[in-house]
């Protein structure tokens, strides 16, 4: 690998395959394990159904209650902002839609580039704010682990390199694009083995909670 173009082709070729395989094996292994182990059998007679309360909790836990907002407005607000920004950039940027279409054959409408650009810029600022908050807030700092900082770094680098590549701020461009793709591949590789798994388990966990409450006839 002696040139930027070789590097780009490596990230688009063998490295992408490796990352995708590790991601798929790791994620499915974890999800299947979670589903198969399930919950301990509850022998008590159910007071109500499970499914509907489960889905209701998926919704209610996604919208913060007023108390949570008053206690931690920064977490709620900035957390929401950067998550939305990240998802918009990930799912609605034309090159990303084309990537999914190229690999899986499915596609959906994308947003105009300048709109995605604004979301990305806001996401970058929000991510920096979350790090500053994590480092300055005594409780957050105390409970933060190495994994938290690792995940933040990888997520931030994915967004930052994407922003640099889009604005062509690194020369030559194949190097900029290759860096972005490599960061995204590292993101895919660590996803099943870190807290990033929440991308796939959050709603499952919320449903489990809601279903358990529903069964007991408790409002959640």
């Amino acid at each position: 690998m002696n040139s930027a173009m070789d590097f780009l082709l490596w990230t688009k070729g063998p490295m992408f395959d490796i990352a995708m395989v590790i991601f798929a094996v790791g994620l499915l292994a974890r999800l299947v394990e979670i589903f198969m182990l399930g919950r301990a059998t509850n022998y008590a007679e159910p007071r109500a159904t499970e499914w509907l309360p489960g889905f209701r909790t998926v919704l209610t836990r996604s919208v913060p209650d007023p108390g949570t907002f008053q206690r931690a407005p920064f977490n709620v607000l900035v957390g929401w902002i950067w998550h939305i920004g990240f998802l918009v950039a990930l799912l609605l940027f034309v090159p990303h839609v084309e990537l999914v279409k190229g690999v899986l054959g499915i596609s959906w409408p994308a947003l105009p580039n300048p709109v995605v650009d604004v979301f990305t810029a806001v996401t970058l600022f929000s991510l920096v704010a979350t790090l500053v908050h994590r480092l300055t807030h005594p409780v957050k700092r105390h409970i933060s682990t190495v994994e938290d900082y690792l995940v933040w770094t990888v997520v931030f680098l994915v967004v930052l390199t994407g922003y640099l590549a889009y604005h062509r701020l690194v020369n030559p461009y194949p190097l900029a694009l290759g860096m972005h793709i490599l960061c995204a591949e590292i993101f895919l590789i660590i996803l099943p083995f870190t807290k990033l798994t929440h991308i796939f388990t959050t709603f499952i966990a919320r449903w489990y909670n809601g279903a358990a409450f529903g069964r007991k006839g408790v409002q959640s």
Binding site: S3, A4, V21, E33, N113, R168, P172, L177
Partner: protein
Amino acid sequence: MATPIPEKTLGERLRDHGLSRRGFLKLCAATASMMALPASMVPRIAAALEQARRPSVIWLSFQECTGCTESLTRSHAPTLEDLILKMVSLDYHHTLQAAAGEAAEEARLQAMEANAGEYLVIVDGSIPGPDANPGFSTVAGQSNYDILMETVEHAAAVIAVGTCAAFGGLPQARPNPTGAMSVMDLVKDKPVINVSGCPPVPMVITGVLAHYLTFGRLPDLDAYGRPMAFFGQSIHDRCYRRPFYDKGLFAESFDDQGAKEGWCLYRLGCKGPTTYNACATMKWNGGTSWPIESGHPCLGCSEPSFWDGGGFYEPVSVPLTANAGTLLTAGAVGAVVGGGSAALAKHGVKKADAERQPVTIDELEQTQ
């Protein structure tokens, strides 16, 4: 055939061909502008070209399709490309020289001897490397590799014209059956200038030669040994369709409304974002048009590995080999691993249940 330092200067020769002083200065100004040099350099270029002796040029054609020569010679006359053929003494060129057989080879050897240390070597086509079967490509019974090494030994510099000579091009595409290598892979002790493209923009060759004649040295080069003046900016950055990319307006097929409106061709596989060349500014066929202007995505022909760099109609962001089959297979393997792991855990719990030995308080007391 060989020209050991011609009698006439370049200025005299151009005047002989009917070029007026005004025309000559226009040529110099065009050269300066083409090479991105300040206007103040025009008199210097004029003075240098006026006095320049035509350098001897040996053009070696190896594993190539003659497209690069076609590009240079079929350009509309009178142009800089036409003039360049008068600016140099082309002492050896398969396609263009009158001599054939041994006489042709003799011309090359004579030119090398008469202009040792001063002649320029232009190469088009890739070369089967030293470890490859030399029989893949020979000229007069000599392997391409041997001819190249023999010819560049006393050259002033080497200009690799076309992507095959510059980066290996089509012959080097996987599985590279002939062990094709580029000039810069093989020539390490001479300056090598890469004028890549399939074919390259003819004026780039002209510009490099004019720069050499004017300043006595080669132009500034990028990381791939290409002249910065022509390869310093990407197609994407100079594309007239760029505003559509910035606005998010894309053609999604070759005949949709977007294509008719001239929107960005990114989604149709345009490699403009990763390609560095002068097509967008210099255009082709006497400035008539260029691929993107005629509605076709850039293929990225001036970049290394462009044949192996993904499908021509796949957007830049699409991975080269990944597909749904790989993803599903990996997912299935993951599911089996997860299932096995969960089954093992469940088995462990069951086994512990089955083997559990109830202990009574009496037994515990007895053991103490």
